[in-house]
């Protein structure tokens, strides 16, 4: 299925998709973008790698580890990792939402602070919404990729 055209295109396109995904994630709290769409794009990049190079490429080619060919798709090491990513993301998102309660403001309240004098950037805006978005991002990436890799393996 995967031709040389596919593989070459994937090699060029995947880094671009990932960069766009990260930028969408970082600007999402006050510009178009956010954790969800960033996560979907990231998952799309990974899916492209899967289609072009096969399901085990991340393990063998990138991480240089062996793959147990006999194990079912649910026991696959990356799938277990994706599932842990879902839990981690959910925990981050809920914790960010609940953090407001400690400061006596409603659940899900967000805040921000400007940091001045940062080299190169001069001024940078740090927001708690970004942390929440990172949580959403993790859930989306973990969920889509575990579905894709399990269904793909079957």
């Amino acid at each position: 299925m995967s031709s040389i055209i596919m593989r070459t295109t994937a090699r060029v396109v995947v880094p671009i998709i990932l960069v766009v995904a990260i930028s969408l994630l970082l600007q999402g709290h006050n510009l178009p973008g956010g954790g969800f769409i960033g996560g979907v794009l990231t998952a799309a990049a990974f899916a492209l790698v899967y289609v072009a190079y096969g399901l085990d490429y991340l393990e063998i080619g990138v991480l240089d580890r062996d793959v147990d060919p006999g194990a079912g798709p649910f026991d696959h090491r990356t799938v277990a990792l994706y599932r842990r990513l879902i839990v981690l993301g959910l925990a981050i998102a809920v914790a960010t939402g609940a953090a407001g309660l400690l400061f006596g403001v409603p659940f899900l309240t967000q805040t921000f602070v400007y940091v001045e004098g940062v080299p190169l950037y001069h001024e940078i805006e740090l927001t708690s919404a970004l942390v929440f978005d990172v949580g959403v991002y993790c859930v989306v990436v973990g969920a889509i990729l575990s579905i894709l890799s399990v269904v793909g393996a079957e």
């Binding site: 409603p106 659940f107 309240t109």
Partner: protein, 533 residues
């Protein structure tokens, strides 16, 4: 006040706890049951602080993320929401307790517990939210969880049921979304209190309220689909048969009630204030309620008959219960329709009170019966009446719990079902006394036929499953004592609600008042930000 968000946080916490402990089954089961208990505790605390306790304000609101109404998402805990939350909690706790014992271990590992609490979270959010679009989101959360449960066992029959369930509900969601968009375009807000306020003074806001009637009907279709009313009932038997039985208890006891709740909340609290020129042949009226009344009445009456006849002909206990819950939701819909058609505030209150008490009764009794069906299935491996018989001698405690459940369903005093049926019939006869006679008498006759059918199918289940000589499978069965203990506790609750009906009626009355008092609802949310900004 953080009390409003407490039940949601408890459900969220339970989802996280069961996800983190997934690799250790025993710990996960403990966390899940504890999460259910914590949820019930949070509901009790919130309801006490907001509605029932001494000096409670009656309605408490909460602005998620500190964004002011009507722009942010408002959560509203008033009498109606509180009552429905209690109903949901009363089903959720025994359902999760039975799940731990009933669902086999390998299946519990497949995200059963996180999804269960996700379902609870969806139900909670739908009851609490004061924002129409947010209501849609919670409907989707519930759909996500319940879809996985319908497909849970994963063979061909379950997948077919799940697919049918998914397609229908997605069509329902689209209808919902179209209606939400239309209402936003018409009224200019999604906050329910703000919508109610603007519709009541449509001229002052330059709103033409005419499209509201049609859009409200789109919403009614979605909610009736959720509630499983005729003509949207056909997904119910398949889905309930396919889902794990404790989940069927949740679907019948809690998520169906979300449909009923949404009809009551949107029509009586939000749309009732709108004045629209309606020229309907049967019912006169100038609010969207005038259209709701005949439509919902026909749906409810048809459901009562359809569910009753379907249940009488069912070959297994779970199918019988699934059809029965179609009929019982009809019994809830009829008094809501009576309330919509009522011309006096008193009759309107009587109708809603009857519907709410019946909803509580149905959640308890049907929850109890579905959980009993789980225990029977767990003990004997089947729910077909052909293979059962004589369970009464095999397990007296299980059988007495089932007996209480069926008696309550039939409406024998002093059980909760008696008051439910009594109030529903009372509402219909009050309507017959004031309004045009023929229609109300016909409805009364249908309800009595429905009650008769309930007696027939309840006796059939009793004779088929529990009476008489023990069958081969029953003789070999060992009934799980923990499940039976849970069932007996729920049966005791059914008896207690009937015996101590006074406070329950007061609570339901407060809920009905909250649904009807548009002014108090608007005042509690105070969506005045739209003007000052």
């Amino acid at each position: 006040m953080n009390v409003v968000v407490a039940p949601m946080l408890a459900a969220l916490g339970a989802i996280l706890a069961t996800l983190v402990t997934r690799s250790r089954p025993r710990l996960q089961h403990a966390a899940s049951v504890l999460g259910g208990v914590a949820y019930a505790g949070a509901v009790a605390w919130a309801v006490r602080a907001a509605v029932l306790g001494a000096g409670a304000p009656g309605a408490v609101t909460y602005q998620l993320g500190n964004w002011p109404a009507p722009f942010g998402i408002t959560l509203v805990l008033d009498g109606l929401s509180a009552f429905m939350l209690v109903v949901a909690a009363a089903v959720a706790v025994p359902a999760i307790a039975v799940s731990v014992r009933f669902v086999d271990r390998a299946n519990q590992q497949v995200f059963y517990h996180p999804l269960f609490h996700l379902l609870v979270l969806g139900v909670t959010g739908a009851f609490l939210t004061g924002d129409l679009f947010n209501l849609f989101v919670w409907f989707e959360v519930m759909l996500m969880a319940s879809f996985v449960f319908v497909a849970f066992y994963g063979n061909a029959q379950h997948t077919a049921a799940a697919f049918r369930y998914l397609v229908l509900n997605v069509v329902g969601s689209v209808t919902f979304l179209v209606a939400v968009g239309g209402l936003y375009a018409t009224v200019g807000t999604l906050n329910m209190a703000d919508m109610s306020r603007r519709l009541a003074e449509a001229g002052a806001y330059g709103i033409d309220p005419l499209p509201v009637t049609g859009l409200a009907t789109l919403l009614l279709a979605t909610f009736a689909l959720k509630a499983g009313l005729v003509p949207f009932q056909f997904w119910v038997p398949g889905a309930y048969r396919a889902a794990p039985l404790p989940i069927a208890a949740m679907l019948a006891g809690a998520t169906k009630k979300v449909g009923i709740y949404a009809i009551i909340r949107l029509y009586f609290t939000v749309f009732a204030g709108a004045t629209v020129p309606l020229n309907l042949p049967v019912v006169a009226g100038t609010t969207p309620l005038a259209l709701l009344a005949p439509v919902l009445l026909v749906m409810g009456v048809a459901s009562v008959l359809m569910g009753g006849f379907g249940a009488v002909a069912s070959p297994s206990m779970e199918e019988l219960l699934a059809y029965s819950s179609i009929g019982q939701v009809g019994f809830i819909a009829v008094p809501v329709a009576i309330a919509a058609a009522a011309d006096s505030a008193a009759l309107r209150r009587v109708g809603l009170l009857a519907a709410l008490v019946y909803a509580l009764h149905h959640a308890l009794a049907k929850g109890l019966l579905f959980l009993s069906a789980a225990t029977v299935r767990g003990a004997t491996g089947t729910n077909r009446f052909a293979d059962l018989g004589g369970l009464g001698r095999q397990s007296p405690f299980l059988s007495s719990a089932v007996f209480v459940g069926f008696l309550s369903l039939i409406g024998i005093p002093p059980l909760s079902g008696f008051f439910g049926k009594f109030l529903v019939l009372d509402a219909v006869t009050s309507r017959a006394a004031t309004g045009p006679g023929v229609g109300a008498v016909a409805v009364l006759v249908v309800l009595l036929v429905g009650a008769l059918l309930t007696i027939v199918y309840a006796s059939r289940a009793w004779v088929g499953g529990f009476w008489g000589a023990r069958s081969e499978r029953v003789r070999a069965a060992t009934v799980d004592p923990v499940q039976v203990a849970v069932l007996v506790a729920v049966a005791a609750l059914v008896v207690a609600v009937g015996l101590g009906f006074e406070p329950v009626a007061e609570f339901a009355g407060a809920a009905a008042d909250a649904a009807l008092d548009r002014g108090a609802y608007i005042e509690a949310v105070a969506p005045a930000g739209g003007e000052s900004a």
